[in-house]
Structure formats: C-alpha cells, structure tokens
C-alpha cells in the first residue's frame, strides 16, 4: 500500500524499486504514450534480464529500443516490432525471445489482469495458428480460445497531466495501452508532463483514477526525441 501523500517521488527513487528480472509493462503505441523518461532512467540504473510487455519495440535508438540494444531485455511480449529493425535482428539471432499476440488480444490480456480476472474466452484467431497455441473450451456449441490474463510486476506509463495522488489524464493518441497497464501491474509508476495539487483535475476528465497508481513523477515536456521519428504524415 502506497499512501496518497507518498506517491509523488523523484524519478530515481521510483525506478530504483525495480529489481533485475522484473516483468515490466511499458505504455505507448509507437512514440505517443511511451514513458521515455522512465525508460531512460531504467537504462541508467542498469536493471537487466527484464521481461518487457509493450505493443511494439519503438524504433532503433529510442524508448525500449535502447534497452533492447543494451542487451537488458530477455523477453519481449508484443504485437508488432516492424518499425525496429534492430529488435527484429536480435530476435532472428535468438538473443531476444519474442512472444507475439494480436494487438487487441494483447490489450485484453492486460485489461483482464487489470480487472482482476484470470482470462477471457474469445473467437479471435480461431482458424489461424494463434488458436493452436492456446487451450480451448466448448461452450454453447462453439469452440472458444482461452486467453489468460497478463499480469506484471511493474508498469511504466506516460500521462499528459497528473496530480500528486496519481490521478492521470492522457492526451491524443498517447492513451493506447497506458490505462490498461496502469490497472494490471502490481506497482505502477507514472510520468507526467505536469503534476499538480489534488483538485486541479476535473473528476470527469480523469482517465486513470489514482487508486491504480503507486508513484508519480514529473518529467520535462515533449523532448526532441519524440519528434525525431522517420515517419511523416
């Protein structure tokens, strides 16, 4: 239990709670919503043998791309790593164990944990190789795949605004996996561009209520790193 007034922390202290070998959910779909500052702090502190759960592998040289290049990730549970050629190469060399899930099932496996369930029944992927790797059950005359919930020791999430109790608001497409991971991990570390006093966020505007957040740190607004992506609209 983290008491409400203990949640607002220096970034070094928050990340120092993560041990070697931890399983860590990392928010973000591409750059938006990726907690770059928390990842960089993790890189600096040296934790290794990590299992990361993230939609994608970012791109070479940014975000979890750095952790993968530094050899700190032993297992990546993801949906698509097509934008990170280094991660694909590490996978092909057998240095990075990669588990791929359809994106919506990955989201729901995390959400299932966040809701305190043990898994869910789906028809997604029936008739494909996805179905061959999971247990099935007959119910009401049809065959359903059982997708177990995906829990983690830690989640690193990114928000636009927060208060020091850990209430979070996401912006634009930076929401993605963040609110799901914030519910699914045992310890949730949130970074936000702005952390204000409780009462500064309208109750209806809060996307992740503070009950799910263990620690909250303030980070500098959008760095150039988030803009230096190859893609243009």
């Amino acid at each position: 239990m983290t008491l409400l007034y203990q949640k607002y922390r220096p970034i070094e202290e928050a990340v120092a709670a993560i041990p070697h070998g931890a399983s860590i959910m990392v928010g973000g779909f591409g750059s938006p919503g990726t907690p770059f500052a928390l990842i960089d702090e993790l890189l600096a502190q040296g934790q290794r043998d990590l299992t990361l759960i993230k939609n994608d592998a970012n791109e070479p040289g940014i975000g979890i791309g750095k952790l993968i290049e530094a050899g700190r990730v032993s297992h990546l549970i993801t949906s698509h790593i097509g934008l990170n050629r280094d991660a694909i190469a590490a996978m092909n060399r057998g240095e990075l164990h990669v588990t791929m899930h359809p994106q919506g099932l990955l989201a729901e496996k995390i959400r299932s944990a966040g809701a305190g369930h043990h898994g869910f029944l789906t028809d997604i992927g029936q008739g494909t190789e996805i179905a061959t790797r999971r247990r099935e059950i007959e119910l009401e005359g049809r065959t359903w795949g059982i997708e177990p919930a995906l829990y983690a020791d830690f989640a690193l999430v990114h928000a636009e605004r927060a208060d020091r109790y850990g209430n979070l608001i996401y912006r634009a497409t930076a929401s993605n996996f963040n609110p799901l991971m914030a519910m699914a991990a045992d310890t949730v570390i949130a970074q936000a561009y702005r952390v204000d006093e409780p009462g500064s966020l309208a109750p209806e505007s809060i996307h992740t209520p503070c009950a799910f957040v263990s620690q909250v740190v303030q980070v500098a607004p959008a760095t150039s790193e988030q803009g230096r992506r190859a893609h243009v609209g």
Partner: protein, 217 residues
Amino acid sequence: MSADQQRILTRAAREVIPGQIVNLGIGLPTRLFHYLPEDLEVLVHSENGVLGCRPRHADEAPDYEMIDSGGAYIATRPGASVFDSAISFAMIRRSRVDLTFMGAFEVDELGNLANWKIPGKFSPGIGGAMELAQKVKRLVILCSHNDKHGNAKILQRCRLPLTAERCVSRIITDKAVMDVTPQGLTVVDIAEGLSVAELREATDAKLIVDDAQLGRF
C-alpha cells in the same frame, strides 16, 4: 442513533490511516462518513463510481447525479475522480481499496462473513458486497454483537449463505473489538463496564483474551 452505535463508530474511526482509500458499506458503516474529519487525507470510494467523496455540507444544494452506493447525495473532495462500474470494481478486485467497513448478519472464527441473504426472508440482492469482502486488503465488520432477539452474531461457523470466505480482519461491535487470527478470535478491546465472562456469554465462538493486552473502548 443509539449510544451503542455511536461507540462502534467512534472506535471504528480510529481504524482509518491518513493516506488510505476506504469504502463504507451500506447501513451503519455509511454513517462513519460523519466521524472522519474533513481534513483527514483519505479518499472514500463508493462502488457506484466515485473515489474521494465527502458528506454534503448542510448549506450545499444536492447534485442529483452525485450519490454514494447507499443513495445519499454526496460531494467530492480535492483529488476525486468519477468512473464507470467496470473501473470501480476493477479497483476492488485488484485490491486497490485499503480498508472496507461492512455490516454483518453473522461472522465466524475463520473470518467468514454472511451479510447478503436470509433464505426465505431477505434477499434483495448482492450488490458489491461479495467483491469488496473477498478482495479488500482489510475488512472491518461493524455490527451489533447480538441480534434483536439476543442471539449471537459472532459464531463458531456461519450458518447463512456466505458473502465471502475468510475475508474479515477485525470485528467491532458494541461489546468488543476482535481480530480474526490463525488461532481464532482474539479480543483486542472490550466495552467499558463489560466483563470478559459477560462477553463470552454473548458470543457463540471461542474468544482468546489476554488480560494484560486488553483495551477498553
């Protein structure tokens, strides 16, 4: 409210630690709301979808769309959020509620709780009790020690349909404060003016009493 209920609530308020997230069950626990100082840094969760509620001030107009789970019009304090029922119960099932107070028909030595159904007599539903009882980090029961016919509510084994198994941490009644421990029910405090023998007489469970440790309330 009776003097017994007031004593239960006054004692119960001491259970709340600043910085916690607390849920107050329907009935007597709801009234604990008024025993928590407004400047206490605690967020009260109500399972209908609000975290950070407080009682309405006497001069505040009710907001008809802001209620607690018992249906009372409430207000919010700084740091409050509102959300849907799925988020609200995710919070409960993920044990993000630190402390819940609940009433009881029966509680037993193992920490089993029955408070939702009396077969053939009372079954208005389940509400959020099962999830709260099963998953909250610390469940404190607030109830009268005996029912209106004088029957014990603190039992060796519950007889009514259970709300949840082995879920209770502490029981606060008008007669005693008892902890559920691996050894059985341990009396922490006993009501002013009551003897241990009288307490045992009013209880259908074995009580562990260490006179040297016993408090009064």
